[in-house]
């Protein structure tokens, strides 16, 4: 029976990135995927003829350019297109438009608050400073703070140097920043409610926290620190949907001789003598390899596909308690035409991009209250994007589809398990809310796909449907991700690694987790490193 150098469990974008770098280094690599399609949560699916949904992740800003370039993903068919503008709505239908040009954006802010328009410059400078520091760590393995190994000390010194370059005052601010709530952070800059809520919403996306919860300011940063071609904070669409990213990485992987097997779910990781030696598939097939890499989240990896008795003491409990609460839903809607939203000019540069139904800070907090009580929000925060307005390949000409991300929707309901009826009721709540800002919206609907955390977990395998494979709070970030002591992609069993978003630097379509894990595996296998350094931001 053939023995591979490495088996990667799960063909999500990080699993494929990991596999690509291992294969590029000359290893014989197999990726196994439970679904009959690849991509995990970076996927494009035609669920209604003629329409292609990015039915999980829908926009992209953290994708590492160094990886895109190094794996030559453009030649493998990937092109990332930035989209412009967005509109933020309050509960009364008033709008705040984010224009692409700096001058227009300033005047729009000034329309709401002269103070805040001027304050925005300081806010942007501070946020950029924070973002720059984090960005430098994305393609690096977190150092172990308790270790005296040269490499860890070197990495710690690198971090210390970055910190010191901020200046004394900013170091205090930075440390404080990590524990603040999004609203507390914003209060320091802004007075206008609509402006505050337009920024605060980034602090709750994908997270079981509210805009007033400590820690949500980091989530805000995580959502604005990405870039498209160097313009920080910009978001891009993958032409052909998010699946184009996974497909391009898969194509690069295959060009290095890698092999992908779909319809091949893993029922168990084989462990012999305290070492991972292979996997058992759902159909009973055993496949062996020198190393096993899990692209599944930490909870699923250690509580679902490893025998508890194979684990060192305490790991199972750590995994069980790993914070990976589901809090988001997704409603994908095929439309027969471009929806026309209220109170926004007929300006094609702003009314096709992001649509932010934030309501008010209180509305968002009440939406969170629903989640705490085990209900989906009756008046949720919705982030809508209409990819078809930018991408000619995802809907027939003149037709459109709208991606709606919803915060909050719990993985488990207080009144019993999710049912198709409850799911559809959730979808209806979302459609009703959109229609409040877009009369006639319902008449355009051709097809709807509603995804609660339940569907996301069932289809993609993300525990509780948590989009980040584990929450991005400081107790689970950097050298604490996924667990303290295991942040360097090596797991408690020898020859077992993790490469998904449960590891540093966390959620988002970045390819960084997969690439970082590959670097560590290659060190252990004494192979030359094939993973590029992120040389883009060190100047």
């Amino acid at each position: 029976m053939k023995r591979y150098d490495a088996i990667v469990i799960g063909a999500g974008h990080n699993g494929l990135t990991n596999a690509a770098y291992l294969a590029k280094a000359g290893l014989d690599v197999l990726v196994v995927e439970k679904n009959d399609y690849i991509g995990g949560a970076a996927v494009s699916r035609e669920l209604h003829e003629g329409w292609t949904y990015s039915n999980c992740s829908y926009v992209c800003s953290l994708m590492r350019q160094a990886i895109h370039r190094d794996l030559d993903l453009s030649r493998h068919g990937l092109i990332l297109v930035p989209y412009l503008g967005s509109v933020n709505y309050d509960d009364d239908g008033n709008t705040l438009i984010a224009y692409n040009s700096e001058e227009a954006a300033y005047l729009e802010l000034k329309r709401h608050s002269k103070h805040d328009a001027d304050s925005m410059f300081r806010f942007q400078a501070d946020l950029t400073r924070y973002a720059r520091l984090i960005r430098k760590t994305l393609l690096r393995t977190p150092p172990d703070p308790t270790s005296f190994r040269t490499r860890d000390i070197h990495e710690l010194l690198f971090l210390a140097k970055q910190f010191w370059s901020l200046g004394e005052k900013e170091i205090y601010e930075y440390v404080r920043f990590f524990t603040l709530s999004a609203v507390d952070f914003l209060e320091d800059y802004f007075e206008n409610e609509l402006i505050k809520q337009s920024k605060a919403s980034s602090g709750i996306i994908g997270t079981a926290l509210g805009v007033y919860s400590p820690g949500s300011s980091y989530i805000l940063l995580h959502h604005v620190m990405g870039d498209v071609d160097g313009s920080i904070g910009a978001w891009g669409l993958a032409r052909g949907g998010m699946g184009a990213i996974s497909n391009a990485i898969a194509s690069a992987f295959q060009s290095f001789g890698g092999e992908i097997r779909t319809n091949a779910g893993v029922s168990q990781i084989l462990v012999e003598g305290g070492k991972a030696v292979g996997v058992v598939l759902d159909n009973g097939d055993e496949i062996r390899a020198r190393v096993v890499v899990s692209n599944l989240d930490a909870k699923r990896t250690f509580t679902q596909i490893i025998d508890k008795n194979d684990l060192p003491l305490g790991i199972y409990e750590k995994a069980k308690n790993f914070k990976i609460r589901g809090s988001s839903g997704k409603v994908n809607i095929a439309l027969s035409g471009l929806p026309k939203f209220s109170n926004v000019p007929d300006n094609a540069y702003v009314n096709r991009g992001g649509l932010e139904l934030t309501g008010s800070l209180e509305t968002m907090e009440r939406a969170y209250d629903c989640w705490k009580r085990g209900r989906f929000s009756d008046d949720p925060y919705i982030e809508g994007v209409i990819p078809s307005a930018w991408d000619p390949t995802v809907a027939p000409p003149g037709k459109h589809w709208m991606s709606n991300f919803i915060q909050y929707c719990p993985a488990e309901l207080a009144d019993g398990p999710w049912t198709p009826e409850k799911r559809d009721l959730f979808g209806q709540t979302v459609i009703d809310k959109i229609a409040r800002y877009c009369p006639g919206f319902k008449d355009l609907i051709v097809h709807v796909e509603v995804r609660t955390p339940h569907e996301i977990e069932q289809e993609i395998g993300l525990t509780e449907g948590n989009i980040f494979q584990g929450e991005l709070t400081i107790d689970q970030l950097f050298f604490n991700r996924p667990f303290p002591g295991y942040a360097q992609y090596r797991m408690p069993l020898k020859h077992l690694y993790m490469c998904g978003s449960s590891t540093h630097p966390g959620g988002g379509v970045s390819s960084a987790c997969g690439a970082n894990a590959a670097r560590e595996i290659l060190i252990d296998l004494k192979r030359p490193n094939s993973v590029p350094a992120d040389d883009f931001y060190d100047e």
Binding site: V81, S101, D229, W390, P397
Partner: protein, 397 residues
């Protein structure tokens, strides 16, 4: 204040001006051959992406267009340009360059063969005087400058063919690269060539200037649902660099305008040796070019992939990281959003092409100047060259 309106000094409106004025939201205008010409319309990078993702239009009214007719037209052109004009079939387009006696590039352009005795020559700079000179000894040639009479619009990008189909140009998807196709447009003749300056699927539309606005409106109506958007000089410069196309003022200095000795370029230096046909009868610059071919060009235009993301515009190139021995200079450089690479075209002394190439890049960070030295790797292929550019039938997106 005087009533004088400076009309003789103002850029003149293009045939599409009425529509372009509405769309040029930031009033970002420059000029080309006296015509008012857009730097960009809304956002240069956005417009660049329209051409890579949907489609865009580019005003080529300011381009010089010469109709060359008569029994001697072919012989005259063949004497002027380096490529064999007799090989161009009717309704085909050929990319050409022409040189002075020293074999140095005067300009590049395209020749459209409209009939056996009828050609259209398009180029960036006016060249009436050179054409007249080239026609010396060919009695049966008439040269007419049609620049102001023909309205021309480039339509480029993956959905460009879909736009033309939606305009009712039946069969346009079967038009091959460099073909010329004729259609009826409101009782007049619309010429569509599958040509362009972007390295992507694309066409150029040619029509009598009286129908310019009608053409524009028809194109924009057809393109509405497939992402049509105008683009200007800035996006063009990005697009052509990714495609590896040369631009006067960047890669070459027109020979007739060059003051300093050999500060102009030969086709071989510009990596355009494939355009020089020594098998055909005598042409201008032949002797000098033959000599250059034997000797090898002193410089060679080279595509570079440069580490990091700082554009290497105006950089010097060196044979080692220490930057002691200069071996060339960057002619155009940018971060390529489509290729996700730091790309450049550079003139490098041919004898150093096999060795290491290092670029000394200067950049600014909040008013402070920095420099870095980056390794350069030679690329043989264009940075952007998707299969759809060449595929026939052309796809819808």
């Amino acid at each position: 204040m005087s009533d004088y309106d400076f009309s003789s000094e103002r850029p003149k409106p293009s045939h599409f001006q009425e529509r372009q004025d509405e769309l040029n939201i930031h009033n970002a205008w420059s000029s080309w051959n006296g015509y008012k010409f857009a730097e960009y319309f809304y956002d240069a990078e956005y417009e660049y992406f329209c051409v890579r993702n949907t489609c865009g239009t580019y005003d080529i009214c300011p381009m010089q267009k010469y109709l060359i007719k008569g029994r001697d037209a072919e012989r005259m052109l063949n004497r002027m340009v380096t490529r064999d004009v007799t090989k161009i079939r009717t309704n085909r387009v050929s990319y050409v360059v022409w040189c002075n006696d020293e074999g140095r590039l005067i300009d590049d352009g395209t020749i459209f063969k409209l009939a056996d005795d009828q050609f259209m020559l398009n180029c960036g700079s006016p060249c009436s005087a050179w054409l007249d000179k080239s026609a010396f000894g060919f009695p049966n040639v008439t040269i007419t400058d049609k620049s102001d009479e023909i309205a021309a619009l480039a339509l480029q990008g993956p959905t460009s063919c879909a736009v033309l189909k939606r305009m009712g140009l039946t069969g346009i998807e079967n038009a091959k690269p460099f073909s010329i196709n004729h259609f009826d447009f409101q009782g007049d003749r619309l010429m569509v060539s599958r040509t362009g300056f972007t390295g992507d699927l694309g066409y150029e539309l040619w029509i009598d200037h009286g129908l310019a606005i009608e053409l524009w409106d028809t194109v924009y109506e057809a393109g509405r649902d497939v992402g049509i958007h105008p683009y200007g000089d800035q996006a063009t410069n990005m697009l052509r660099l990714e495609a590896g196309f040369i631009m006067p003022g960047y890669e070459f200095n027109e020979a007739l305008k060059t003051v300093h000795f050999e500060h102009d370029q030969t086709p071989f230096e510009l990596n355009l040796g494939w355009l020089v046909d020594f098998k055909k009868p005598h042409f201008n610059g032949r002797r000098a070019l033959l000599k250059e071919q034997e000797r090898g060009p002193r410089y060679t235009l080279t595509k570079l992939d440069i580490e990091g993301n700082k554009p290497a515009e105006d950089s010097f190139l060196y044979s080692s990281k220490r930057c002691t021995d200069e071996i060339g200079y960057v002619t155009s450089g940018m971060w390529s959003p489509a290729a996700k690479a730091n790309i450049a075209l550079a003139m490098i002394e041919t004898e150093y092409l096999d060795g290491e190439i290092w670029s000394e890049i200067y950049y600014e960070k909040e008013l402070r100047q920095y420099s870095k030295v980056a390794r350069c790797t030679i690329q043989q292929e264009p940075f952007w060259s998707p299969a759809r550019t060449r595929a026939t039938p052309a796809a819808d997106y």
